[in-house]
Symmetry: C2
Subunit: 179 residues, 2 copies
């Protein structure tokens, strides 16, 4: 009811904020010719993808590392570990959900045993995605050499509001799912 609307507004605000951050402050978007700006799709697609899809967002960041003249290493950070864990759990959840709920003739008893497990892990995976996103935001803020984060520049403030909206959005989603 009420909260669904507030969640929509917060979720949409998060998408707009991350789009403005990457599109305006971080120099806009590009695909494979330009690894630095290809990176900028990663946060945008990942944040949208917490609602829609992951695929292109991951391609954006792996390409942005591997296609550089001097390639960057992959999967060294806590953010990337939690991010990958999230995606793997997400895959398991997806397969388990599909099999259990849609396999023709599976015993109703089994469906009923699995259901609370599905709901709990669904929420946990969502929380992991949120944690990954929050850490990714912090990384990008600190990796941006032309941003003096500790000088309260407008980009830094925008980053903080993005994080706060994303967290609030996540809180409301979990509230809605559990109530």
């Amino acid at each position: 009811m009420w909260w669904v609307l507030v969640a929509q507004v917060f979720g949409l605000t998060s998408v707009i904020l991350v789009a403005v951050w990457m599109g305006h402050y971080r120099g806009g978007f590009a695909w494979q010719g330009d690894p630095t700006h290809q990176f900028n799709y990663h946060p945008l697609f990942m944040v949208i993808g917490m609602i829609f899809l992951y695929g292109d967002g991951l391609k954006a960041v792996f390409d942005s590392h591997n296609l550089k003249k001097k390639p960057d290493p992959n999967l060294y950070s806590l953010h990337s570990w939690v991010g990958l864990m999230t995606i793997i759990f997400f895959g398991f959840q997806w397969v388990a959900g599909f099999v259990t709920f849609l396999w023709p003739g599976l015993a109703l008893r089994l469906k009923n045993i699995y259901k609370p497990i599905h709901v709990f892990w669904g929420i946990l995976i969502y929380a992991f995605a949120l944690a990954a996103a929050m850490m990714g935001i912090v990384e990008k803020a600190l990796f941006s050499k032309d941003l003096k984060y500790n000088k309260f520049e407008s980009e830094g403030i925008l980053i903080n509001f993005l994080g706060i909206f994303l967290l609030a959005f996540g809180g409301i989603v979990v509230y809605l799912v559990t109530n």
Copy 2:
């Protein structure tokens, strides 16, 4: 039952990992004479404090900024905003819990209306503290100039495991509280 034990082990592991990180890799602990090493109490006390107390942990980080020859700014980061929000909500929750549950003769009906609100916010505040801690870990990893985080040095690996244990610990705590 089982999970309580696992949670204990993960929680304790987190405390040990953060203590080793700060005590061994980050040069150990000191109080007001030495702001850089005074900082090292902040993560340790904050992580312990997710179970015990905040006070000294916050003093450690504010001192570490303010007592420097060239003081660092306060409260510019997403981490610090989420951290402060957590502490403020924690304070409200504490007062509201105290008043509602312990005020002599408060109508039972009011207690019952407030109870699910208290439980929901309790869990949410806990999740906020976890998010703040995860972001703080990422910040500290990237602020440590003598750590090449993307070179898979042992300190970096320890940091990632700390984050994973903390997240797992948090997940189990929420599971226990909701089941």
